[in-house]
């Protein structure tokens, strides 16, 4: 009988521990993130998608704008996965590279601006909650995450230009580097 009781209380302990963690998150993370999201999304609704699209049409021309500035702003303004839609203003050849950079910007900025990718927040938050548990400031980590992201996501996008060149050669496909707007 004693074993049964011990087993049962041990079993319940798992859920008590998990429940305590969940309640802590509900009290700390949920309200803050929610309010931040509301403000951000309202701002985005005021600015409007049209302005960003106009910006995207101009931004495709140089490599820094294409893989650093544009995906950063697209992630901030449109979030995951709508940010990818701005890639349609780029020439075919650069679309895979834009994808590579954009997908990463949807994560690296997510620590500072969780409205970008709330559905995959725990890539960031899973690790960040450890920092929080130690009583340290998450923002320090979030900012470095974003800064390293800005540099390395750009490098990733630029590097994908090279792999695209290589792969298209292998496959015998030529992709256009000229803008052809279908919109």
């Amino acid at each position: 009988m004693q074993y049964v009781t011990e087993f049962a209380s041990g079993f319940i302990k798992l859920f008590n521990t998990g429940g305590a963690v969940l309640v802590t998150w509900m009290k700390t993370i949920v309200p803050v993130v929610l309010l931040l999201l509301v403000l951000m999304n309202a701002i985005i609704a005021f600015v409007g998608e049209e302005k960003i699209q106009r910006f995207a049409q101009k931004a495709g021309r140089n490599v820094l704008m294409r893989y650093m500035v544009l995906p950063f702003i697209a992630a901030f303004m449109l979030g995951n996965p709508m940010a990818f839609t701005l890639g349609r203003f780029l020439p075919e050849f650069y679309k895979p590279s834009y994808y590579a950079a954009q997908a990463q910007f949807c994560h690296t900025s997510n620590g500072v601006f969780p409205h970008i990718n709330p559905g995959e927040l725990f890539v960031w938050l899973g690790i960040a909650q450890g920092i929080q548990a130690l009583g340290l400031n998450q923002i320090d980590l979030a900012i470095r995450y974003m800064l390293v992201g800005i540099v390395m996501n750009f490098v990733g996008g630029w590097f994908t230009d090279l792999t695209t060149k290589m792969v298209s050669k292998q496959m015998g496909i030529t992709l256009s580097k000229e803008v052809e707007l279908k919109v």
Binding site: I44, E92, I131, L134, M152, T160, V167
Partner: protein
């Protein structure tokens, strides 16, 4: 019968529903605006494009079967659902989504919101204008609603007070609809994942598994070589698409590492390179869909899938290394 033209109305930024195609007919060639006395700019725009007659719903009532379109400025209480319920196509000037007691009737087929002048386009001339043969008593009642001119004259320039009112209403409605949408996101995606991760943490910490994981994770995530290994494995081109979906693996591994950081088994400095190491496979499962969102050609997608997998592989380890270099001085006191 080119007397009337069809228009297409799309949703504005942050809006909901649509696109709607409005085709006036002999029977339905009037549209009503129920916007609290002011006359939104889109009313004149629609009247000009379609040739339909605008009717101020606050001043004149017209039979429902003659209404081709209703324009409202409803922040989500009643009006936004009232006309869809009657099966009348509805444009909301404010960015209100599915809400209010009649939310069930608000569907993308009948309703579009946050519409401004730019969201209204004339459909191409080749779209046939539907003509309904049974013309009813349209002529006899024509004179009654021809009040539009005087209203236009009155409301072309809304008074200062009215403009403040309209502006404030717009701001509040935008915030309100953002909040509604996001509470849904929280309820549907974030909180369920939190519950799942919290259960995982409970099981790991509450049972003996925690110590076992500490033995595995600490040497792996607690130094740069282990993190490079994680980053390398995650970025392998034949593994990365399998590890990608929904970022679930990255989220679970991240939580495990975070747990060990919280318990003091891994130095907090390694949080930064770990963030990069667990996600070197970032979105490798999503490449065709993402390129589809970019409206890429099928050839581009063919090349792009392979290209991005390669570039993720070559960039994976360098990302972890750079993050590691950038982590010096973080949380060191």
């Amino acid at each position: 019968m080119a007397k009337w033209n069809s228009i297409q109305v799309t949703k504005g930024s942050g809006g909901y529903g649509g696109p709607l195609t409005i085709t006036p007919t002999e029977q339905k060639h009037k549209f009503i605006y129920v916007t609290g006395g002011n006359r939104p700019a889109i009313v004149d725009r629609i009247a000009e494009l379609t040739g339909m007659e605008a009717v101020d719903g606050f001043k004149t009532a017209i039979p429902e079967e003659e209404i081709a379109l209703a324009i409202v400025d409803c922040g989500g209480t009643l009006r936004c659902g009232l006309y869809p319920k009657k099966n009348i196509k509805t444009i909301n000037v404010l960015p209100t989504g599915k809400s209010g007691p009649l939310a069930n009737f608000i569907t993308p087929e009948l309703y579009v919101s946050n519409v401004g002048v730019n969201q209204i386009q004339l459909l191409d001339g080749d779209t046939p204008v539907a003509v309904e043969p049974e013309v009813t008593s349209t002529t006899e009642s024509e004179g009654k609603y021809d009040t539009s001119k005087s209203i236009t004259a009155q409301m072309r320039k809304p008074s200062f007070i009215a403009r403040i009112g309209i502006g404030a209403g717009r701001i509040i409605a935008t915030f309100n609809s953002a909040a509604k949408e996001l509470v849904q996101t929280m309820l549907n995606t974030v909180i369920p994942f939190m519950a799942f991760v919290a259960l995982l943490i409970g099981i790991i910490q509450g049972s003996g598994l925690g110590n076992l994981f500490a033995k595995i994770m600490a040497p792996l995530a607690g130094n740069i070589f282990g993190l490079i290994l994680i980053g390398f494995v995650c970025s392998l081109p034949f593994l990365s698409p399998i590890l990608g979906p929904g970022g679930v693996i990255a989220q679970v591994v991240g939580t495990l590492i975070g747990l060990e950081i919280g318990r003091g088994h891994i130095a907090p400095q390694f949080a930064l390179p770990a963030l990069f190491a667990i996600n070197t496979q970032n979105a490798c499962d999503f490449i065709p869909v993402g390129l589809g969102l970019e409206e890429a050609d099928s050839e581009t997608i063919e090349v792009g899938v392979v290209s991005v997998l390669y570039s993720r592989f070559f960039n994976g380890v360098p990302r972890v290394l750079v993050a590691w270099l950038a982590s010096f001085g973080l949380y060191s006191r």
